[in-house]
Amino acid sequence: MTFPAYIPVLFLAPIFLSLPIALAWVYRPGAAWARKLPILSVLGLFISLIISLYILFRVPSESVTIQWLPGFDINFVFTFDYLSKYMGALTAFIAFLIGVYGLEYMKDDYRLGWYWFFFNTFTASMLLVVYSDNLLMLLIGWEGLGLASWGLIGHWFRDDDDLSYVGDSKRRIGPLRLFWSPTTGGWRAISTIRFGDMPMFFAIAAIYALTGTLDISQIPWGDMFQKIGIAGTVILLFAFLLGPFTKSAQLPFSEWLMTAMTGPTTVSALLHSATMVAAGTYLFMKITWYIKPWELEGVPGLEIIYLLVLFLGLISALYGALVATGLLERKVLLAASTMSSLGLMFAAASTSFWLGKIGLLVAFWYLMVHAFAKATLFLVAGHLIHVTHSRFCEGDLELGKKMKIGFGATIIATTFLAGIPPLTAYWVKSGMDELMVELIHDVGALPLILLIAVSVVYAAFLAKFLSLNFIKGTRPHHIDLHGGQLMSSAYAIMVSLMFVLLYVIIREIDPSTSTFFEAGLEKTSFLVGIAVLITYSGGLIMPRIRALANVGFVLSDRLYLPFLNDYIIPGIGWVIASIVDHANRGIDSLFHRWVPEFFERISRDIRKLQTGSLPIYIQIVSGIIIAILIIGALMGWR
């Protein structure tokens, strides 16, 4: 079967066009001509964008198969369905804009080859995850994400710039120092993700063993669940979902996301909007899309998993939102808010078990809205860090006036994302409200309560971010407004997409948005919107409440979750290491000491017989012969 040539170009263009800068940096690091090569990398991203837009608007929904191992039914299968068309365009668009921003943001960096190669690999990997229908292909992209995220988070490997750290160098709790370097951040990311990937590999292998196919759209999910029973279903799906849970930083795997902020801001922006963390929720949505759990209500075990995802998502969302209110670091605050949003996506998607496809659509539209808003906020934060040389929130109206575009973009992004009627996220959030209201019948009121709590807190810290950086924050010691045009135009375009989405929703251009557009007209949704508006205003007016400083510390210490990553798990690791070490020594002693000594002793005993004296030899031999004959005689006696 022939396949369209644009498909390989879509994935390979970013990677190949990043090779010139990567190679240039190997042989001539820092050369003036080499610093111009990133343009090529961005060109690669642009090619991907064009192709993904072409797929979105011009290619019919279908899958394309490129044969690889047909005998094993393992092929490059790309599917262009509702989810992947939108998601691919979103990924390519955001990556391209961030790429443009990065041209200026990273222009003086000491490691451009490394940066651009991994940045483009990151994007290509995400596109592979998005368009793959085959789980093995998807895994290749998935692993590419993991590798590139390690490379990018630990990009500033010299650990020599306080600006690239996360945490407060003076903050200590017991044995822990809440201060993380870029290399630590990279390590925490890759180690956490591997923890989830391992069970996911096994789950995928099990799916292949059970069904003989890895194409998500072809796997007979229902039959498979029936075959392996309730325990099998729970174990299989839980193992599989550990991948998305760790990638999307759900509790208790959220720590890596916070210290991922040690990477360049462009990386944070990409990581938090359209790639990496989105890959986890996207994969969950994608498999749910094809599992069609709403048609499988009789299947045992499935409800347990979807309940788990629902509550894990909501609790992670609440945790993230609360932590964000306590944080004062620009990027870490946004990281916590991302975690919160991801939780909401999981929760909304999981409701599809009871309520059907609408849950997925709401979750997916929230993903898109969130992606543009969060990318904007990160890009502004990066610009702020450049201008103020500080990673902590600071800035007053003075600064706001000087950075009008940044100020404006932040206002738009925060208000549109918070869920204030009638702005973009309000409609999607209303969809979520509606889902949780309908869920009262099946699950109870707790999900609704949690959702409202999250929405309210979420608006508060968004307002706090705006207020502390542009309105009521401390006056920065240092303001360097030199340049920045490329960066501001990038986030200006980014934030303008919020209007595009708003237009698409209100005019109901995409028919699937109509359901939650109608939910936005409900009274309950409107009441929640008002509550959100109130807390947003509160956050704007009182971004810091001195009386609650201690609560703030607890929250900004992320409810002591770092202990899990930096103390408990390493502790377990050391215990295992010491067990292995002892076993290792034991084996060494066994084979280097005990066994040789044992044989040497026997050997010496055997040789002791050789005294050289013939009479003694004759006695020994006679004795042995008689003994053997007696044994023979006894055997013959029977």
């Binding site: 040497e600 050997s603 040789r607 017989l609 050789q610 013939l614 030899y617 004959l629 005689a633 013959g636």
Partner: protein, 416 residues
């Protein structure tokens, strides 16, 4: 054909007599005699006959390394006699001739062990002869009891006869726990006579024992075989473990012989199932050939104070059992036939023993390593190494040869 043998024996006698003037004259005569005797095969089982002739010639050549010999040329004749008996034994079906060949192989070694470059080594000779006489008596009595008992069957007598035969064999070839003479003799006697005792002289006792045991198989063979298994196991472990810490090379090789004889005697248990007997016999014969060729090569090197590094390591690796050297196939055949008759554990212990043997064989090879020098010892080493390399062609040809020979292995005692 018997006439050829008689003429050959006369030639050997004549040559030995002539050698009282010129020592070397016996060597060509001995070789001619050996080739004449090999005609008895009439083209059958050339695989075996060929190996024996080559090994006998190697033994003859190795005597050339000695500067002088107290029995002056007669030593060549004695080796030719042993070689002739070793060829003849396979093709005879007569009990008297079988027992005669046993004695014909045993007695010449009594004389050879005294031979020395210097003065006759009486002390060690006496030690050797004492045990050989005892071994021959036990072996022959056991063989006669078994043969007589075959037609007037009594279970107790059968097992006693079996035990006597095996004990006699063990003492003759130096299998543990009756190996006590071997380390002393191997390390104190001259290496060249020892190489004869350790190589070609081991073949006939084993073949004779096999022939008699095959001919007298009875329902009690399974239980009687426990004696062979027991001695085989003790011998393997004693030999291999004893060699681990021995310093003198002669002693190490003595223990190595003990271990090899252990492998061979333990394979006697395959008699309980004639279907797998050809494979076991092929394994036993190959193991004897490996042992013979390797021992000649190494003892010659000891005599010359070192051999070529490559040759020594090749011989050692063959002893260890590295594919595709012959030492691998011999142990493989024994192990596979053991597994086939239900003695998997014994096969595993055999493999374990091969592992134990690795350090000391490599140590021997290292200690004997030297440069390539054009000498008799090197030539012998090259030929021995070539024998080990023959099995580059997997020796299924040897097994099929043994299968055709099985008619000679089983002789009928009914006519007695």
């Amino acid at each position: 054909m018997e006439l050829m043998v008689i003429i050959a024996l006369l030639l050997i006698t004549l040559g030995s007599a002539l050698s009282f003037r010129v020592r070397w004259i016996t060597l060509p005569i001995s070789v001619i005699a050996l080739i004449m005797v090999s005609q008895i095969s009439g083209g059958k089982f050339l695989e075996y006959t060929g190996f024996v002739v080559v090994i006998a010639i190697l033994n003859l050549l190795s005597l050339g390394i000695m500067k002088k010999s107290q029995i002056k040329g007669v030593d060549f004749g004695l080796v030719a006699l042993i070689g002739s008996a070793t060829i003849y034994i396979v093709f005879t079906k007569d009990l008297a001739m079988i027992l005669t060949t046993f004695v014909v192989v045993s007695v010449p070694t009594y004389m050879l062990v005294f031979v020395n470059d210097d003065i006759p080594n009486v002390k060690i000779g006496i030690k050797y002869v004492t045990f050989m006489v005892l071994a021959t008596i036990l072996f022959v009595i056991g063989a006669l009891i078994l043969s007589y008992n075959h037609n007037n069957f009594n279970g107790t007598v059968y097992i006693l006869g079996y035990t006597l035969l095996i004990v006699g064999l063990a003492l003759e070839v130096g299998a543990a726990p009756l190996h006590i003479w071997a380390p002393d003799v191997f390390s104190n006697a001259d290496p060249i006579p020892v190489s004869i005792i350790a190589s070609i002289a081991k073949i006939v006792p084993v073949v004779v024992a096999l022939k008699i045991l095959i001919a007298t198989t009875s329902p009690l063979t399974a239980s009687a075989s426990m004696i062979a298994v027991g001695i085989g196991l003790i011998s393997m472990f004693t030999g291999n473990i004893g060699a681990l810490t021995s310093r003198e090379l002669g002693r190490v090789l003595a223990y190595s012989s003990t271990a090899n004889m252990g492998y061979i005697i333990s394979a006697f248990v395959v008699l309980i199932n004639p279907a797998f007997l050809p494979l076991a016999v092929a394994g036993i014969l190959l193991q004897l050939i490996v042992n013979a060729a390797g021992k000649i090569g190494m003892f010659s090197a000891i005599k010359e104070g070192g051999g070529a590094t490559h040759l020594m390591y090749l011989l050692a690796l063959s002893f260890i059992g590295l594919p595709p050297l012959m030492g691998f196939w011999s142990k493989l055949f024994i192990a596979v036939s053991l597994i086939n008759v239900g003695y998997t554990w014994l096969a595993l212990l055999l493999v374990l023993n091969s592992t134990i043997s690795v350090p000391y064989y490599l140590r021997v090879a290292r200690d004997l390593s030297g440069n390539w020098v054009l000498s008799l010892g090197t030539i012998i080493g090259v030929v021995a190494a070539l024998i080990m390399l023959v099995t580059l062609l997997p020796p299924s040809w040897f097994v099929s040869g043994v299968e055709k020979m099985m008619e000679f292995m089983t002789f009928n005692l009914g006519g007695m």
